[in-house]
Symmetry: C2
Subunit: 377 residues, 2 copies
């Protein structure tokens, strides 16, 4: 019997009190009892998304909610800018191309955040760009983008700003209304401490107006229909009842702890993770590291996939490797949702054992001491 | 404290052993442990869908899987026939229109099943029809369509046959491969005894070929990608892990009882429900009643919504009312998934109390005796 624990950037661990709520007796989605729960979930999502605007719940993964943003805000041939810099930035471009938008791609080096001067330049050269598609935390590189600065630029130019915050939400600060972000996309399996299966999408007034005139085809992800249902605390098709009951439970816990308290907590955990990696003599990939996940460059001559495999195989601890060009080059440790300081200490303690086994040299215990220092010192 | 029980045609009750599996500790979707579960689920789905072809799992409601069928099998302007006869038949036409297909609609009176001569006539008059979209159990009218006969016609003419079996699967017999049905769409919250949140779709060799050339836009529901993942017992995006663990548990239980044993059980329950309604002097809506759900015409001067509301409000028992033109005219009792003979007896016992309260006259106990007779006599 091995203990199984996830420190992957999604799915992320689900606490027992949420798992128990998932196992409650099923209720019908068109009853006043369930409407009350949906109402609570809708209100809670607003507070976590830092918006007064509606946040819709979709029965899909976060990618489904990304597609919904594209097909509901834009029309055939509309020009949009997709900001790259990692696997999830590229996904925006892929989706927009599938739906026949005119996609301008801004190349950002993996591990870097987009440069605002370059962004301004691209937008000035393409006055007909209607929307910018970007990412809060680019999970593949563990990099947080400066959404506040990007929003300043898009708002000046009256361009829709759409942010994939699937992995960042709850850890990396995102002040949707205050910064003027039109659309924020989320998913259940990261900061929300839930299993995968729900996508979320917030819509500013400007975004709601754009939806009125969009002519791209959509049915299941028709947000005009979803907005109408939302106004009555309902969903267009059969709601994913059990996951929504879990959502209400998780939101309640997040609100009790406090969103800002949690932001500080994860910021400290991210700092400690970076310091612990450095104490081991390891480098960080990201130039603008996220508070949700940290990407550590694997020591020379050690494949990061071997670190991941050994941690999982011998100790039941799942962390993530690198994707695409970063395969075998980095490993990623998540600090999001239900993950705690104690989990990080355990993680580095096991990581040290694995690194030693794989032949990497360092002073034993150095990373755990460094974590403790950051946490308590 | 009121007992809460669902006899609605979705969501349908989830047994405690499935709910407990939903509450298991979360696992990562890219581990060998989860792959084993997906493998089991994939194999189990084949046996329940009565097919040797792949059955894909989508993180969506059944409607998402219906959209996937349309956007993956056809190309712009393709002519398809949507068979009406209820709310879900109409949904096929709606989806196909949104994606700019050339939709021929076959009108079927609500409560009736499509006439095969008329179907043949329409197909003969429209030689360019590429696909027929229809329904196994039309939930809104509790009518089962003769898919075997329809498949004979479409196979002769080499036309793709796509069947929404969301509410019927597991109760109404559907021999996918034997009858030659190309695509069968299912959902988790009916015969599978699971909460809502998963859609299923089986694809014949002919359907898989059609997918190769389809040019309609799709990303989240791209079945070419999903087929590739399926071959490796994987899913394209983050799998709805907890629901899939539940699915494997539920399928295991269904296989242990036996699909054919279950078909017989539900057929008997459906017969008993019809007999019990008749014993109360009530009429049935459907001319070809389903084994999954029964639609009973409300007594004159009693709105069916009052029956539904009273049953739910006073006894915690949810049944369904009528939809669209049938609102207030019929009520529907489901016998699917986890619903048992004992539940039907309880349901009619409470229904009698409610009917009496609403002023309907009948011999007390007559429906329950009739149920017992059919079950045991």
């Amino acid at each position: 019997m091995k203990r199984r624990f996830l420190m992957t950037p999604g799915p992320s661990p689900v606490p027992s009190f949420v798992r128990e709520s998932l196992a409650q007796e099923i209720m019908h989605h068109r009853t006043s009892e369930f409407k009350e729960i949906l109402k609570e979930a809708h209100a809670g999502l607003k507070s976590i998304f830092c918006t007064e605007n509606p946040v819709l719940i979709l029965s899909s993964s976060g990618t489904g909610a990304m597609e919904a943003a594209v097909t509901n805000l834009f029309s055939k041939g509309d020009k949009v800018l997709a900001i790259g810099g990692g696997k999830f930035g590229e996904r925006w471009a892929e989706i927009a191309k599938v739906f026949a938008l005119n996609v301008v791609e801004m190349n950002v080096e993996w591990g870097s955040a987009p440069d605002s001067d370059e962004l301004t330049k691209i937008l000035d050269e393409n006055k007909d760009i209607k929307g910018v598609l970007t990412t809060l935390c680019e999970t593949s590189t563990a990099t947080v983008f400066d959404i506040e600065k990007i929003a300043k630029i898009t708002n000046e130019k009256d361009i829709l700003l759409v942010v994939d915050a699937i992995s960042g939400l709850g850890q990396d600060v995102l002040l949707t209304d205050q910064w003027g972000v039109d659309v924020v996309v989320g998913g259940s399996q990261k900061g929300f401490m839930l299993p995968p299966g729900l996508g979320f999408i917030s819509l500013s007034q400007r975004a709601q107006k754009a939806i009125e005139t969009s002519d791209l085809p959509k049915y299941y992800f028709d947000l005009k229909k979803a907005l109408k249902s939302h106004a009555k605390d309902d969903t267009p098709y059969t709601s994913a009842v059990s996951l929504i009951v879990g959502l209400a439970t998780a939101i309640d816990a997040i609100k009790k702890e406090g969103l800002e308290v949690r932001w500080k907590k994860f910021s400290k955990m991210a700092e400690a993770t970076r310091e612990a990696a450095k104490a081991l003599g390891l480098k960080l990939l990201s130039k603008r590291p996220s508070d949700s996940v940290t990407a550590i460059v694997s020591p020379e001559n050690i494949k990061s996939s071997d670190i991941v495999k050994t941690l999982r195989g011998e100790y039941g601890l799942s962390i993530a490797g690198g994707q695409a060009d970063l395969k075998d080059k980095i490993f990623r440790i998540a600090h999001m949702g239900w993950i705690s300081q104690k989990d990080l200490i355990e993680c580095f303690s096991l990581l040290e054992k694995v690194l030693a086994k794989l032949g990497y040299e360092f002073k034993q215990g150095v990373s755990v001491s460094r974590l403790e220092e950051v946490f308590h010192g």
